[in-house]
C-alpha cells in the first residue's frame, strides 16, 4: 500500500513537471511568427463589423481587411500596445475585448474575489460545522424514499429466492 502511494505521488509529480516544461517551452516558442502575433491580437479585438464577435471570428469582408491591416502593422515592427492604441484612436475603446483603461483590475478583481471569497467562506463554514458537530449520533442518513426502495427490493429478492426453492 505504502509503495503504491509513493508510486502514485512520484507519477503525479513527474506528470506535473513534464507538463510545466512543455508549457514553458511552448509559450517561449509562441508569438515568434508575425502571422501568429496578428492572429492573437485579432482574438483580443472586438470586431467593429460584427456585434458580439471578435475580429478573429467575424466573417465579414471589412474584418478581413482590418486583419490584413493589423498584420501589416505587425510586419512594420509596431508593438502590440502601439497597434491597440492606434485601433482605439480609430474605433474607440469599445474595440478592446477586455477593458485596458486603468480600471481593468475592476473587471478581473470581482471574479477572483468571488472565487477566493466563496471558497474561503465555504471552507470556514465547513470547519465550523465540523468542529461543533453534535456528539449524539444521528439515527440514519438515508431518506424515506431510500428506505422504501431498499425494503421493496429486499421483498422482491426474497420473493425471487422463495420462488426458486
Amino acid at each position: 500500500m505504502r509503495i503504491a502511494r509513493r508510486c502514485l505521488r512520484v507519477t503525479t509529480l513527474l506528470v506535473i513537471a513534464f507538463v510545466s516544461v512543455l508549457a514553458l517551452a511552448s509559450s517561449a516558442l509562441a508569438g515568434s511568427d508575425d502571422q501568429e502575433r496578428a492572429t492573437n491580437l485579432s482574438r483580443n479585438i472586438m470586431s467593429p463589423f460584427c456585434p458580439g464577435l471578435t475580429l478573429h471570428d467575424c466573417p465579414s469582408d471589412a474584418s478581413i481587411e482590418l486583419r490584413q491591416e493589423i498584420l501589416t502593422m505587425v510586419q512594420d515592427g509596431m508593438s502590440d500596445a502601439e497597434i491597440m492604441d492606434r485601433l482605439e484612436q480609430q474605433y474607440g475603446p469599445i474595440i478592446s475585448a477586455v477593458p485596458d483603461d486603468g480600471r481593468s483590475w475592476l473587471v478581473w478583481g470581482l471574479p477572483a474575489a468571488a472565487l477566493l471569497g466563496g471558497g474561503t467562506l465555504a471552507y470556514l463554514a465547513g470547519r465550523r460545522w465540523t468542529s461543533r458537530r453534535s456528539a449524539t449520533p444521528e439515527p440514519s442518513a438515508i431518506t424515506v424514499r431510500e428506505r422504501e426502495r431498499i425494503e421493496t427490493e429486499l421483498r422482491s429478492i426474497r420473493g425471487q429466492w422463495g420462488g426458486g426453492r
Binding site: 500500500m1 503504491a4 502511494r5 502514485l8 507519477t11 503525479t12 506528470v15 513534464f18 507538463v19 512543455l22 508549457a23 517551452a25 511552448s26 482574438r43 483580443n44 472586438m46 460584427c50 456585434p51 458580439g52 464577435l53 471578435t54 471570428d57 467575424c58 466573417p59 465579414s60 469582408d61 478581413i64 474607440g92 475603446p93 469599445i94 474595440i95 478592446s96 475585448a97 477586455v98 477593458p99 483603461d101 480600471r103 475592476l106 473587471v107 478581473w108 470581482l110 471574479p111 468571488a114 472565487l115 466563496g118 471558497g119 465555504a122 465547513g126 470547519r127 460545522w129 465540523t130 458537530r133 453534535s134 444521528e138 442518513a141 438515508i142 431518506t143 424515506v144 424514499r145 426502495r149
Partner: protein, 664 residues
C-alpha cells in the same frame, strides 16, 4: 378587416383579470386555510391558460393568413415566408415572444398547481398566488407596452419578413426550448416561495417540484446546445459559442440551476443547506427573468437582440421586487431553515457538493459581472467598453476544469466522512488514467496545456464514472447476469444516480469537443474559379458555381471539391444568399463532419465575375459536442422517467401565515 385575431386582445385583458383574481383567491385561501377559495383560484389560473392559448391562436391565425393590418404580422412575416417559419415568427419579435412566454407560463402554472392541488399539497395556495403574480406581470406587458395586436392605419401590401437568420430549422426549436427552461423554473421558484410564506419548510417544496426543476434544466441545456449548433451552421464564423451577452443570459440560470440540482441532493440526504437551496432557486429564476430583460430591453448590442423594445424599464422593478421579496422571506424564516445536521468531515461527499456549488456560483458571478460591466462602466464614465471572449475564457475555463475534476472525484467520496487512505485507494485507477492520457498526448506532440489538462481530467472522470458503473453492476454480474443486463438492472434500480452519471458522461464528451478547439486551423483568401487552397491534409478546389433565385432570395452556390492525399473525398456546396426583403446577405456553411474533425467552408463574399471570398476551417473533435448532448439527453430521459417522488411526511409548520397565527 375582421378576423379571428380580433379575439386576441380581449382574451389577454380577460386573462389578466382572471390571473389577478386567481392570485387573490389563492392567497386569501392560503391565509385563511380555505381550500374552497384556493381551488377557485386554481380554476382561475386554468382559465388564464385557456384565454392565453386563445390569444396565441389568434396571433398565429393572423400570421398564417398574412393579415398585415396587424403591425406584428407586417413586421415579422411576408407573403413568401414558408408556413413552417411562420410559426417561428411567433417568437421572432418582442411582442410575440412575450406572448409565447406567457403561454408557457400559464400552461405550466395551471398544470403544476392543479396537480399539486389533486395531490393535496398544502403549498398550492401560496404557489398559485406567486405564479399568478408573475403571470399578471407578463399579461400587463402584453396589454400595455407590448401589445401584439396593434393595428396599422395603412395596411401594407406585403410584410417586412422574418430575419433570415431565424429561418432555419434550429431556430424553430432553440427559442421554445430556452423559454421552456426559463419559464419552467417558475414552478420550483413558486413552491419555494410558498414554503417560505406558509412556513412549511420541510422537503415538500422541492420533492414536489423536482421533476419541474429537472425538466426545466434539461430543456435549457438542450436549448443552449442547439443554440450553439445553430450558430455553428448558420453564422459562418466557424465557432459555436461567442460569449455574447444573450448567450451568457441563457448560461447564467443554467449555472445556478445546475448548482441547485446538486446541492438539493444534500438537503434530501442530510437535511442541510436549506437556506442555500431556496436562495439558489431564487437566483435561478431571477437570472432567467434577467435574461429576458437583457434580450428584450436592447440594453446590450448583440447579434441576438433582434427585437429591441420599450419594455426594459418594466422588468427592473419586477426583478427588484422578486429579489427583495424573496430575500426578505428567507431572512424572516432563517431560524427555521437551519440545518438539521452538521458536516462530519471536510473530506466527505457533502464537502464535494459544497465545492461544486462554490465553483458554479463563482462562475456565475464572473460571467454576470463580465456581461453587465460594459453597461455599468458606461453609466459611470459615459464611455462604451467591451468585455469579450478573452475575459470569459480566462475566468470560466479554470473553473470549468475544476468542475470536471469534481465530476469524477465527487462520486468516489463517501457521504459523511472518508479517510484519506480510502480516498487514495479508490482514486488511484482514475488518477493513473488521467496521467497516462496527459503523458501520451505529450509524447505524440500535443503542445496545448489547456487541452492536455482538459483531456487528462476527462480521462480521470471517465475512469471514475466507469468504475462506479462497474461496481454497481458487479452485484448483478456475480448473480450470473450478462454485462449489458447487469448494467441495465443497475441503472433501472437507481435511475436518478446512474442517469446523473450518464449526464456527466455527456458533459465530458462535450468538454472533449471544446478542448478540440485548441487545434483549430483556418485559412482565408479570395478564390477564382479553378483555384485550389490547402488546409491541414485537405486540398480544396473551387470547381464550379451555380446561381438561382427564389421569391425569397438570390442564391449563389459554390462547388468545392475536396481531396485528401490526392484522392477524392467529397464535394461541399457553401452558399452566399441575399434575402430580397431585407437585402441582407447570409452564408450557408458547407460542412463535412466526422468524429475526428470537421471541414467547414464558407463563402464570405461574391464578385460579379464569380471570384469568391473563401474561408475554411478544420475543427477537430467538434462532433463530440453534439454526441455529448445526445448522451446528456439520454441521461435526462433516464432520470426523468424514474419513479415519481414519494411525498415526504409533512412536518409541522414553523410559524405560519395561516389561520390562528396570522399577524395582522
Amino acid at each position: 378587416m375582421t378576423s379571428a385575431a380580433e379575439l386576441g386582445r380581449p382574451a389577454l385583458i380577460a386573462a389578466l383579470a382572471f390571473a389577478s383574481g386567481g392570485g387573490v383567491l389563492c392567497a386569501v385561501g392560503a391565509m385563511r386555510g380555505r381550500s374552497d377559495l384556493t381551488r377557485a383560484g386554481v380554476r382561475a389560473l386554468v382559465a388564464t391558460f385557456a384565454l392565453t392559448s386563445l390569444a396565441t391562436a389568434g396571433l398565429l391565425y393572423a400570421l398564417l393568413t398574412r393579415d398585415f393590418s396587424f403591425e406584428y404580422v407586417s413586421a415579422y412575416s411576408s407573403r413568401s415566408l414558408p408556413v413552417g417559419y411562420t410559426f417561428s415568427a411567433l417568437w421572432g419579435g418582442m411582442e410575440g415572444s412575450l406572448l409565447f412566454w406567457t403561454l408557457l407560463l400559464t400552461g405550466f402554472a395551471a398544470f403544476a398547481v392543479r396537480g399539486a392541488d389533486r395531490r393535496g399539497s398544502r403549498l398550492v395556495g401560496w404557489a398559485g398566488a406567486v405564479l399568478a403574480a408573475a403571470i399578471a406581470f407578463f399579461l400587463l406587458l402584453l396589454v400595455i407596452p407590448a401589445d401584439p395586436f396593434t393595428r396599422l392605419a395603412q395596411i401594407p401590401a406585403d410584410g417586412r419578413g422574418l430575419n433570415p437568420l431565424l429561418q432555419s430549422p434550429g431556430m424553430m426549436i432553440h427559442p421554445p426550448l430556452l423559454y421552456t427552461g426559463f419559464v419552467g423554473f417558475s414552478i420550483p421558484f413558486a413552491f419555494a416561495m410558498a414554503a417560505l410564506l406558509s412556513g412549511r419548510l420541510d422537503e415538500a417544496w422541492f420533492t414536489s417540484t423536482r421533476r419541474w426543476a429537472l425538466f426545466a434544466w434539461s430543456a435549457l441545456s438542450v436549448g443552449i446546445v442547439l443554440g450553439g449548433a445553430w450558430a455553428y451552421t448558420e453564422l459562418g464564423w466557424g465557432g459555436y459559442w461567442a460569449w455574447d451577452p444573450v448567450e451568457n443570459a441563457s448560461f447564467l440560470p443554467w449555472l445556478t440551476a445546475t448548482a441547485y440540482l446538486h446541492s438539493v441532493v444534500i438537503q434530501e440526504k442530510r437535511r442541510m443547506f436549506k437556506v442555500w437551496n431556496i436562495s439558489l432557486i431564487l437566483m435561478t429564476y431571477a437570472l432567467a427573468i434577467f435574461g429576458t430583460f437583457l434580450t428584450r430591453s436592447g440594453l446590450l448590442s448583440s447579434i441576438h437582440t433582434f427585437t429591441e423594445g420599450p419594455i426594459g424599464k418594466w422588468f427592473l422593478p419586477f426583478i427588484g421586487l422578486m429579489l427583495i421579496g424573496g430575500l426578505a422571506l428567507i431572512a424572516l424564516r432563517y431560524d427555521s431553515l437551519r440545518s438539521d445536521n452538521q458536516l462530519d468531515s471536510m473530506l466527505s461527499r457533502e464537502s464535494a457538493f459544497l465545492a461544486n456549488n462554490v465553483l458554479f456560483l463563482a462562475a456565475a458571478v464572473a460571467i454576470l459581472w463580465g456581461t453587465i460591466y460594459p453597461v455599468i462602466a458606461e453609466l459611470f464614465t459615459g464611455v462604451r467598453l467591451s468585455v469579450g471572449p478573452p475575459f470569459f475564457n480566462t475566468v470560466f475555463v479554470p473553473t470549468g476544469l475544476a468542475l470536471i475534476l469534481l465530476t469524477g472525484l465527487g462520486p468516489l467520496i463517501s457521504w459523511r466522512r472518508m479517510s484519506k487512505g480510502a480516498l487514495l485507494r479508490i482514486v488511484r485507477g482514475p488518477l493513473i488514467a488521467g496521467s497516462v492520457t496527459i503523458f501520451v498526448l505529450a509524447v505524440v506532440g500535443v503542445r496545448s496545456l489547456g487541452a492536455m489538462v482538459a483531456f487528462g481530467l476527462c480521462a480521470f472522470s471517465f475512469a471514475a464514472i466507469g468504475a462506479e458503473f462497474a461496481r454497481g453492476s458487479g452485484v448483478y454480474r456475480r448473480r450470473g447476469m450478462g454485462t449489458l443486463q447487469a448494467l441495465n438492472e443497475t441503472v433501472a434500480r437507481n435511475r436518478r444516480r446512474y442517469g446523473g452519471y450518464v449526464i456527466h458522461l455527456g458533459v465530458l464528451l462535450i468538454v472533449i469537443g471544446f478542448a478540440g478547439a485548441a487545434f483549430n486551423k483556418e485559412v482565408a483568401r479570395p478564390l477564382q474559379l479553378g483555384d485550389s487552397i490547402n488546409i491541414g491534409a485537405y486540398t480544396m478546389t473551387y470547381a464550379n458555381f451555380r446561381q438561382d433565385s427564389t421569391p425569397e432570395k438570390e442564391i449563389f452556390e459554390a462547388e468545392i471539391e475536396v481531396t485528401r492525399g490526392g484522392s477524392y473525398l467529397t464535394t461541399l456546396y457553401p452558399q452566399r444568399n441575399v434575402h430580397i426583403a431585407q437585402g441582407q446577405p447570409q452564408s450557408e456553411v458547407g460542412i463535412r463532419t466526422t468524429p475526428v474533425e470537421d471541414l467547414y467552408v464558407v463563402v464570405s463574399s461574391v464578385d460579379p465575375d464569380g471570384t469568391i471570398g473563401f474561408r475554411a476551417f478544420v475543427n477537430p473533435l467538434t462532433w463530440w459536442i453534439w454526441a455529448g448532448a445526445v448522451v446528456m439527453v439520454l441521461g435526462m430521459w433516464v432520470v426523468l422517467s424514474g419513479d415519481l417522488p414519494v411525498a415526504v411526511p409533512v412536518s409541522k409548520p414553523a410559524r405560519s401565515f395561516e389561520p390562528g397565527v396570522v399577524k395582522a
